[in-house]
Assembly symmetry: C3
Homo-oligomer: 145 residues x 3
């Protein structure tokens, strides 16, 4: 059996700029269609805006909100939502923000009315810009529409 | 071709508590069935017990044992085992425990009689509780039974 | 529908040694064939040579080159290339090397003539040997040949 794979870049230009704008070689996400299923691989996403500028400097909860909103926009542009996400990997600059992170995520997923939470990991790690306090990458799997 | 996806939470309540008990919005793992295959995404797992309490404080090898035992229980609850694991991501609080980590993993996989070792990465990173010394997340892929 | 899964280890012995040589229980990568598709899970890969020795000590760009070359060799041994990679996870010992990392990756992907860049994340984390400055793991998905 031979299977065909279709891949394309995921973009949400109203929320995040294209990494090529600052000369970076990665996609915000990839949509991979194979065998009647779709896998989304979303890149590490943080509190940046449509011009690629860091926003909400110094405010963890506002950065968490923007990060989740950016991820939602990327998922949405591929016809997906949070109920399709199977794993998130969350990186905090300071683990002392862990309680704030959980508080915001609880609220956010509640609004999303998630019946089943994604698998997840959260570790402390340095991020690519000193002012960013949280970064999240995600994998989603969904049935073909 | 339209494909149906079935997702459910992976639990091993005799080993690890439900994250909801401490008001966290993630699943210990997800079982995703699609196209006659099954993917397991297991969350970051550490040396905690069935009440969610950190155990074996200060003892790296005992924490490693409990972490692998917790992962085994999660895999088992989804009808899987270590021979189904295709990647582990291992996070150590202190890379000086790397030799102890490898020593324990060698022993553990030997007991599991693994013919083929998972792909893996091991980095040093801060974990969600200061007393935890090792955390591991895993992805498994298996044929439908 | 029952699906059969074939798994085998990915090796590139002219570039990287087998982890068993230094008594480590992981594979350089796994090739997983299922449902007419192939998934490659490549382990964390760094600037080491065919004898498992760290090379290019102190030279970030040379280490980046060797890391990408090792990954290329692992992909190639499984009949794949960079156009099949859907996600990379990049770990830098010092985020101050981030510009050098991007510069090298830009050049490398340009030479590979990638039409679509993988999704990616890059964080700062301690690596398993103090002299290693960059480590990358990758996931690839490809159609059956």
């Amino acid at each position: 059996m031979k299977s065909k794979i279709l891949k394309k870049a995921i973009k949400a230009p109203d929320f995040l700029n294209d990494p090529a704008e600052y000369n970076k070689s990665f996609s915000r996400g990839l949509k991979i269609e194979l065998n009647g299923s779709t896998i989304l691989e979303i890149s590490g996403t943080a509190s940046i805006n449509e011009r690629g500028k860091s926003i909400h400097i110094g405010n963890f909860s506002a950065q968490a909100k923007r990060t989740f909103d950016n991820l939602t926009a990327l998922l949405g542009s591929a016809g997906a939502g949070w109920h399709d996400v199977v794993k998130t990997r969350c990186y905090l600059r300071n683990m002392r923000d862990y309680d704030k992170f959980n508080k915001y995520r609880n609220q956010f997923y509640k609004k999303q009315k998630l019946a089943l939470f994604p698998a997840s990991i959260c570790v402390e790690a340095g991020l690519c810009r000193p002012e960013l306090l949280v970064e999240i990458e995600a994998t989603a799997i969904l049935g073909k529409k």
